[in-house]
């Protein structure tokens, strides 16, 4: 049993570089849509919210950069395998950091970002309320 395991491991060790060579360049789903339109729509929606790390201000859904193509391939194959889009986002964030996601993650460092609209709304309400009062007084 143990011998078999070792033999298998050795086989894997040998074949690994070969497999890696095969794995790297082709990313067939970089420019190919998924057959199921529902899955493709899901993948598309996710890709539009992921940043192309090699470009300036483009999502991986609008870039010809090879890395973006590679990431599109990743997203599509994972969606096809039935993974949840948010799980894929988390996986990419673990790999590349928060920078990769155009949807800001709710964390202490991004709290002001989410507080800002509330603050503006409160300020707007305050300003408009001022108008109401002033009129009653006048």
């Amino acid at each position: 049993m143990r011998g078999l395991l070792l033999a298998l491991l050795a086989l894997f060790a040998l074949s690994a570089p070969l497999a890696a060579q095969d794995m790297l360049p082709p990313a067939p789903y970089a420019y190919k849509q998924l057959a199921d339109p529902k899955q493709e729509a899901k993948a598309q929606a996710l890709m539009e919210t992921l940043r192309c790390l090699k470009c300036q201000s483009q999502s991986i859904a609008d870039s010809d950069a090879p890395m973006a193509g590679d990431m599109r391939h990743q997203v599509r194959t994972r969606i096809a395998a039935g993974e949840d889009p948010e799980a894929i986002r988390q996986w990419l964030i673990e790999r590349y950091g928060d920078y990769v996601s155009y949807t800001p993650q709710v964390k202490p460092i991004t709290w002001p970002l989410f507080a800002a609209p509330l603050l503006f709304l409160a300020l707007a309400a305050f300003l408009l309320r001022g108008r109401f009062r002033r009129r009653k007084g006048a």
């Binding site: 420019y31 190919k32 598309q44 539009e48 201000s57 609008d62 928060d98 155009y102 800001p104």
Partner: protein
């Protein structure tokens, strides 16, 4: 020789700006009031001189003078004429010279034709304009001299970025810059009015045409820029919430708010301090935008830190001008009374609401654009993109558009709800019907596009309501302007929502002869062959597209390769129908010899830009109406003066 001449003229213009500032400031004191006569001619002369400097730079680019560093770095002798011309402002130094040129020309123009402002306010305004210009002169002359020579002339130029070699981009920056810098006039007007404490309807009427003019150019610039991004980037996106785009959107938002508060001030003598503050904010946003784009801070905070000369310079200018203006505002605001009061239910209120919402969107865009820079400085890189901007700005935009449908039919000062029941009910019913249709027929559509598709038709109907019951021949032109501009917003909104809701994408690897279905189109790749342009070579695909079985149309998407500097660019092919656009892109050749083709069918997408053009047209109509009225009034005033003179004899 031309380069040295350009530089000398630029220095002289800067010296005149100093004179304009000093003389203007002294003229406001009673003891030295006689200096007032100097300010106008100096402003005009200064504008003329800078125009000469800019003309010199254009000349250097057109003749490809490779002994000038800027030309050698950004131009190439084999470029087509139009891109040699556009190359003048397709780089940092040239674009800053264009900025100063437009600014000083605008100042000269004010000095030449502005007759409505009280003399003191005008002098203060021109001094303010000189003060702002001076900072940019200093920036040009000390940190980004466009006329610098090379020790040895370069054998050949480095060329212009292929992405910029496009007719759309040749005229996009000048348009946008006229808008940015036009707002400096509003800024100087606001400062002038704060200095002399003279804020009232006359001030608003004098400022309005300048704001309108700047706003028209901003609208055109943003619309054209969006269309350029749409067709050159090759993926069918039309707005990316990219910091550079946001940099142009922020002044537009502020200028839109300013335009509306200006109307309230002109018509009702209300919102005085608010209007002055918006005047300061609008140009501040232009400067913030320039800082973002020109300092290199966008590529990375660290890139900025490595070579901070220019960035720090602009940052210092920002601090001086925005800080200074806000300080002046803080000191003087309390002495300017808020003006006439109005009821909650009145046109003023609806305009105040619109202003507050526009400022809310402005705040969101500003925070969303700057926040990633802040966190990067703290060592954490985050991205803020469409998933943040779209919903958050909608929180403000949707209520604003609802009020926008009703506001124009409300009366000034006070109105009663019962009077406008129909004007509210009709658009509301149209929108409700549209929402129902969208939900029933096209079932799963995301919330925002669905709301857009519902609001747009209602808003379109509502935008024409101010014309109901009017004598159309005697309706003033500015009213038509408002109607057209509001209708344009509805049209653009419809295009955006439709693009978001109904676009279909088709990516396919194709051999010549293969066909694909894209929405209602059947597209066939017929052939791929080489083609050469003036300074590029390309692969060109011949694609036939037939709309639901009809006659096929031929499209030619290209993949262009540029040599100087080396670079690639996809040239998408567009087929525009009344109900949408087919977008075709030729990608790379795969290992199996098949070609990567990309197609999109985007229903009603051109409406986004038609809408933008309508908004600008509305602004133009309003501007023409205002100017025509001013001219008429001036002629009448002259006639009266002439008559009095004769009677006096």
């Amino acid at each position: 020789m031309i380069a040295e001449l350009g530089l000398a003229v630029l220095w002289m213009a800067a010296a005149l700006a100093v004179l304009q500032l000093v003389a203007g400031a002294l003229a406001l004191r009673p003891a030295t009031a006689h200096l007032a006569g100097v300010v106008r001619p100096v402003a005009i002369l200064q504008g003329a001189l800078v125009a000469c400097a800019f003309a010199a730079l254009i000349w250097l680019f057109l003749s490809t003078d490779l002994s000038v560093k800027l030309v050698a770095e950004n131009s190439h002798s084999a470029k087509p004429f139009i891109f040699k011309l556009a190359g003048t402002w397709g780089n940092h130094e040239g674009s800053m010279l264009m900025w100063v040129t437009i600014m000083s020309l605008a100042g000269g123009f004010v000095a030449l034709i502005e007759k409505r402002l009280p003399e003191n306010t005008l002098i203060a305004t021109l001094a303010g304009q000189a003060f702002v210009s001076l900072g940019f002169y200093a920036f040009l002359l000390l940190a980004s001299n466009p006329f610098e020579r090379l020790p040895e002339p370069a054998p050949e130029g480095a060329g212009l970025n292929p992405l910029l070699q496009d007719i759309g981009l040749a005229f996009h920056p000048p348009t946008l810059y006229v808008g940015y810098v036009g707002l400096s006039i509003a800024f100087s007007f606001a400062i002038g009015a704060l200095v002399t404490r003279d804020v009232g309807p006359a001030f608003a009427r004098a400022m309005r045409p300048w704001v309108l003019g700047a706003w028209i150019f901003l609208t055109l610039g943003i619309t054209a820029g969006s269309y350029w991004a749409y067709y050159t980037l090759g993926w069918g996106g039309w707005w990316f919430w990219d910091p550079v785009e946001n940099a142009s959107l922020m002044p537009w938002l502020a200028a839109t708010a300013l335009l509306h508060s200006c109307s309230v001030l002109a018509a009702r003598n209300a919102l005085r301090t608010w209007t002055v503050m918006l005047g300061v904010v609008a140009f501040s946003m232009s400067m913030v935008g320039t800082f973002l784009v020109r300092s290199g801070i966008l590529t990375s905070v660290h890139a900025f830190a490595v070579d901070p000369t220019r960035g720090t310079f602009i940052l210092a200018l920002l601090a001086i001008y925005i800080g200074g203006a806000l300080l002046l505002f803080g000191l003087r605001a309390s002495t300017v009374t808020e003006g006439a009061r109005f009821a909650v239910f009145s046109r003023e209120s609806s305009l105040v609401f619109n202003n507050v919402m526009l400022c809310g969107i402005l705040g969101i865009v500003l925070v969303g654009t700057l926040y990633p820079l802040l966190t990067e400085a703290m060592g954490v890189k985050v991205s803020v993109g469409p998933p943040y901007f779209n919903p958050v700005s909608s929180v403000f935009a949707i209520p604003m558009m609802m009020v926008m449908a009703v506001g124009p039919v409300l009366r000034w000062r006070e109105d009663k709800g019962g009077r406008i029941t129909w004007q509210v009910a009709v658009p509301a019913l149209v929108s409700a019907a549209a929402l129902l249709a969208v939900e029933l027929i096209f079932a799963p559509i995301n919330l925002l596009p669905a709301l857009g598709l519902a609001i747009a038709p209602g808003l379109a109907v509502a935008s024409f309501q101010p014309l109901v019951g009017r004598n159309l021949r005697r309706t003033p032109l500015p009213i038509y302007g408002m109607v057209v501009a509001h209708f344009g917003i509805a049209v653009a909104l419809f295009g955006m929502a439709s693009e978001g809701a109904f676009s279909t994408e088709r990516l396919a690897a194709m051999n010549p002869g293969d066909s694909q279905q894209v929405g209602p189109f059947k597209v066939t790749l017929q052939d791929i062959g080489p083609i050469a342009g003036p300074n590029w070579t390309a692969l060109e695909a011949t694609v036939s597209a037939s709309y639901s079985g009809g006659e096929p149309t031929i499209l030619h998407p290209q993949a262009r390769t540029f040599a100087n500097p080396p670079g690639n660019r996809t040239e998408s092919a567009l087929l525009t129908r009344w109900n949408g656009q087919l977008y075709a892109v030729l990608g790379e050749e795969g290992d199996d010899g098949r070609w990567q083709m990309r197609f999109w069918w985007k229903p009603f997408v051109p409406m986004i830009w038609y809408g933008g053009a309508l908004v600008a047209l509305g602004g133009l109509l309003a501007l023409l109406g205002r100017v025509a009225r001013d001219v008429k009034r001036l002629v009448a005033v002259d006639k009266i003066a002439y008559r009095r003179e004769r009677q006096g004899r």
